[in-house]
Symmetry: C2
Subunit: 303 residues, 2 copies
């Protein structure tokens, strides 16, 4: 069904724009090595799934590419800051991330804490350029993007999910509670990526139906991403993952695999993939091949 669409070809130009923009906006000359720590955390060869989702959703609604590039980078900065803080000794205490020493190993805990904090602030700064910036865009769009990102990052989104995660170590969770945890911890930002891309469209152009469908699509792939993550934590090795494999079991964290078993987890990932594609279809949007291909990749990935 997606044979006619080559995701890699589509991605290459978009990824180059995202990397260049991140390198431009995450400046090295912040005081006292803070900029170096921030760049180390961000410019490290991540998969950039969230930026690609923003850009693909923006294309689906024929939105403003300037707004979308800033939104794509802002989402990635929030993702990057969450990894920096997650890796710290008081959280997951991880020393390896994408094959490199984690930020606190390289720069010390205090600098890692500050770099994460500054990356979150920078994300919102990117979303609110002033009139003097050549790539500025409508204030109403700026405000909407700030709202979507703030909600997805905060207590009712990513941070809330991490709090559940913290509290769930050593606990037996029901499938519902596990789904709630992941819908917040990982899902909220992935869904927001799609919503933010859609918000780069001119209001009025996007029907309520299309908007709701894209949000459903984002929610489904957000959850699918985490189910696959839990599967890979068991089946892949650290070199392929670029991070420590088997960490969930070692830390006694409940996962889809521990709650549903491996076979049912794989079936659930496929089910979510189907839900995502169905949501795209019901959006009524014509230009959704990139979103569809990204959904395929989320479920089919091996790292």
């Amino acid at each position: 069904m997606t044979a006619a669409f080559d995701l890699d070809s589509w991605s290459v130009g978009h990824l180059a724009r995202v990397e260049a923009a991140l390198s431009q906006w995450v400046v090295a000359d912040a005081p006292a090595d803070l900029g170096l720590a921030m760049r180390y955390a961000v410019l490290d060869g991540g998969k950039r799934l969230r930026p690609l989702l923003v850009l693909a959703a923006c294309e689906a609604v024929q939105g403003d590419p300037h707004a979308a590039l800033r939104a794509a980078c802002a989402v990635e900065l929030v993702h990057a800051y969450s990894l920096v803080h997650d890796d710290m000794p008081c959280m997951d205490n991880d020393i390896l991330r994408r094959g490199k020493p984690t930020v606190h190993i390289k720069f010390g805990q205090a600098q890692a804490l500050l770099a994460g904090d500054a990356l979150q602030a920078l994300a919102f700064e990117l979303l609110a350029p002033d009139d003097g910036d050549a790539d500025s865009f409508a204030p109403v769009m700026q405000a909407t993007l700030c709202r979507l990102l703030a909600r997805a990052a905060g207590y009712a989104g990513m941070a809330g999910g991490q709090a559940i995660d913290l509290a769930s170590v050593g606990q037996t969770l029901t499938e519902d509670r596990l789904r709630q945890m992941h819908a917040l911890k990982t899902g909220a930002l992935l869904r927001a990526s799609v919503q933010m891309g859609a918000a780069c469209g001119l209001s009025g152009h996007l029907t309520d139906q299309a908007s709701a469908s894209l949000s459903d699509f984002g929610a489904a792939i957000g959850l699918a991403f985490q189910v696959v993550d839990d599967i890979l934590d068991v089946t892949a090795d650290s070199a392929t993952l670029g991070k420590t494999a088997g960490k969930d079991a070692e830390q006694d964290k409940p996962t889809y695999v521990s709650v549903l078993g491996m076979a049912q987890s794989k079936a659930y990932a496929q089910e979510l993939h189907g839900l995502a594609l169905a949501a795209l279809q019901s959006s009524g949007l014509s230009n959704t091949l990139a979103l569809q291909a990204l959904a395929d990749k989320v479920v089919g990935r091996d790292n």
Copy 2:
């Protein structure tokens, strides 16, 4: 000169509104005790200097009170999150704040880290209400407020100043470098408080001169605040301060007192006070008594 203006009477109603709004917006039902940690960090009897500056600046420009209340709370949330992270063992390792155990002592380091992160996100969420909120306000104002807060909180503001602070332990700083550190670490958010209050005015109503003068006012009292802080760290006791006194010297941190000496530090605080009042005068705004009284208080405070 300000005898006719009673700051306490002016403050009482504004403080009540700020406390009620913070208590409403920092919800307790965030997952897994995250909300409790966030509320503990915020609803703790701080002086609310930053919110009062926002509200006073908004009054000076006859701005939108709904926008100002949200801006006031947003600035306080950023201030509160910075204290939570600052107090953590990898930073200042403080166990007492405003006479209570610090957040990481009460809730653990991981929850403190998350609570700080979630408070920062919530600050931006407050600034971008959607149309459905009864107290929503113009998107262009939302975007401006997000821009001002993000810049003040990030690498070129508070977080950058903290990075210099980290790097300066045990160092001898020049007065210029010390001023730069404090202009960022404490000054940026205090100045942003005034700027955000001013941004709640209708654009067009506020002259460039008034806007620049208010920004200068904010910068002067921001620096004065820190000079007085450094003086009080030497002269006050922990009970009066509500935090550990003598901490700077103990941690071998450069301060105005260590760089300029006590007498010159006190003279510098008075000089900054004078600069602040002069900036107010040159603003051409008539309703600046509350801002003037707050400047008096910043310099005259004993805790």
